[in-house]
């Protein structure tokens, strides 16, 4: 049986983590390569790097980071943030990432999904969706709207329609981030995850809101998600990956326990 995946997400700016990360009993480290290696040893199933480097000129720093990570960890990892063009995708994949995630760029230019899938295979292309709850309308029948540029810009796109379209265009996976739940540590947006996951047949990664292992359990049970993105829960030593997986396992969720 397929295991549910636990995926730490690291925010990187100019080749450094935006905040230092401190595992249980460890000193603060800002190097994404070291942190990725530590998560690899600790049993992460996959790692996501989110590049928030503001200037496009500094992109090569991220590529260098990707190259170094690929020499050290032997599990899949993906890179999102700042992927605007087909060439950006290509560069990241050639440097050793398994997948690329496109978000705002895909809303502006949906063709980037199909071009990427045709060239690299759909398993390489993750559609990142930032979603906000809005009132139900003719335009937004699901009551969830796609926002871009870090949540500042509403797009008029219905989240469910966009998820289906992304799948049709060739996305191999969806990373579903609830802007409302993000940072609250009060749990994932369960209704949103159920809605999207039950209407597409590609894997869905739940993102935004995780504060406790129980939150992760809630979103993984009944196939509301195939994987979860976590950040602060493990970054600052509150939990280890092993503690989270042990908890899930005792509650009947299949996760990878040997690594």
């Amino acid at each position: 049986m397929l295991s549910k995946r636990i995926i730490p997400c690291l925010d990187v700016r100019d080749g450094r983590l935006t905040k230092g990360i401190k595992f249980k009993g460890n000193v603060d480290i800002g190097d994404p390569v070291e942190i990725a290696a530590q998560y690899y040893r600790d049993g992460a199933d996959e790692i996501v790097f989110y590049d928030i480097t503001a200037s496009h000129e500094k992109r090569n720093i991220m590529i260098e980071t990707v190259r170094k990570v690929a020499e050290r960890i032997f599990i899949p990892f993906s890179v999102g943030g700042g992927i605007r063009t087909f060439d950006d995708m290509r560069e990241v994949l050639l440097a050793g990432a398994e997948k690329v995630s496109v978000n705002s760029a895909a809303v502006r230019n949906p063709k980037i999904i199909s071009e990427g899938a045709a060239a690299f295979g759909r398993q390489c292309i993750v559609l990142g969706m930032d979603v906000k709850k809005v009132s139900v309308s003719d335009k937004i029948p699901s009551g969830y709207e796609i926002v871009i540029d870090g949540g500042r810009q509403f797009t008029g796109l219905d989240a469910l329609e966009w998820a289906k379209m992304g799948q049709t265009l060739g996305a191999g996976e969806i990373c579903l981030n609830s802007i409302d739940a993000d940072g609250t540590k009060e749990g994932y947006e369960l209704k949103l995850n159920r809605l999207i996951s039950s209407n597409v047949n590609i894997p869905v990664i739940a993102s935004g809101g995780a504060g406790t292992p129980e939150h992760i359990f809630e979103v993984l049970k009944d196939d509301k998600a195939d994987a979860t993105l976590i950040a602060s829960m493990t970054h600052y030593g509150s939990y280890t990956i092993k503690e989270i997986k042990t908890y899930l396992s005792t509650r009947g969720v299949k996760v990878r326990m040997n690594w």
């Binding site: 191999g172 047949n201 994987a227 040997n258």
Partner: protein
């Protein structure tokens, strides 16, 4: 020297990086004579079967693989490489290399209601021992990402099976050829162990 066959099929560099990490000499090559003279061969790949076979034929690498197999050279098939060694694939109705008898089928996504591709970590139930799995802990999981799977005719060629939608053959072996549907180069320590075992395997199908 380990030859990693280059036929335009996706992420070849990840196998190379894993070999570098293990301190094993390897080259990514599409050169017939380089492949024929290598000590062992890795046949990796992600992508579609139709295009893969076309690329192999264009570069005459289909012959190189079959010759190396007949020559008793250790060969490791990974993911698409594992599918292409079968006789035919439902993907693009492709005629493949035919080193192992049988076909490649697509997961029945619609009738099962399950998601396709099969993406993520899953375990391999070993039916019998093999040198490549020596030292790999029982219950270890491996990283899969695929929509098609091999269906060998001869059950003796199936050494490991995995449950997804139905139980399918995830690890095949035939003499000096070992082939896996998962990605050992992306499967953490158990995967690296398989690659390390392969790099010293003499191509014989026994366990000491």
């Amino acid at each position: 020297m380990i030859a990693i066959i280059d036929y335009n099929a996706g992420n070849l560099t990840s196998v190379k990086r894993a070999m570098d990490y293990l301190g094993k000499d390897s080259i990514i090559t599409a050169d017939y004579s380089e492949i024929i003279s290598a000590d062992r061969i890795v046949f990796p790949g992600v992508g579609a079967a139709g295009r893969a076979m076309a690329d192999l034929k264009k570069r005459k690498l289909d012959r190189a693989i079959v010759e190396a197999f007949n020559d008793k050279k250790p060969i490791l098939g990974i993911c698409l490489g594992t599918q292409v060694i079968m006789e035919t694939s439902e993907e693009n109705n492709t005629e493949c290399l035919g080193i192992i008898k049988g076909r490649v089928a697509m997961f029945a996504a619609e009738s099962s209601g399950m998601k396709v591709p099969h993406m993520g970590w899953n375990s391999v139930i070993l039916k019998r021992k093999h040198p490549l799995f020596q030292g790999v802990e029982q219950g270890s999981e491996f990283y899969f990402v695929h929509s098609y799977y091999p269906v060998p005719e001869d059950p003796d060629k199936v050494l490991g099976e995995t449950d997804y939608i139905a139980r399918f053959a995830s690890f095949l072996a035939s003499g000096n050829l070992a082939a896996m549907q998962f990605h050992p180069e992306k499967s953490g320590e158990p995967g690296l162990k398989i690659l390390a075992n392969f790099s010293k395997w003499d191509g014989r199908d026994y366990v000491e």
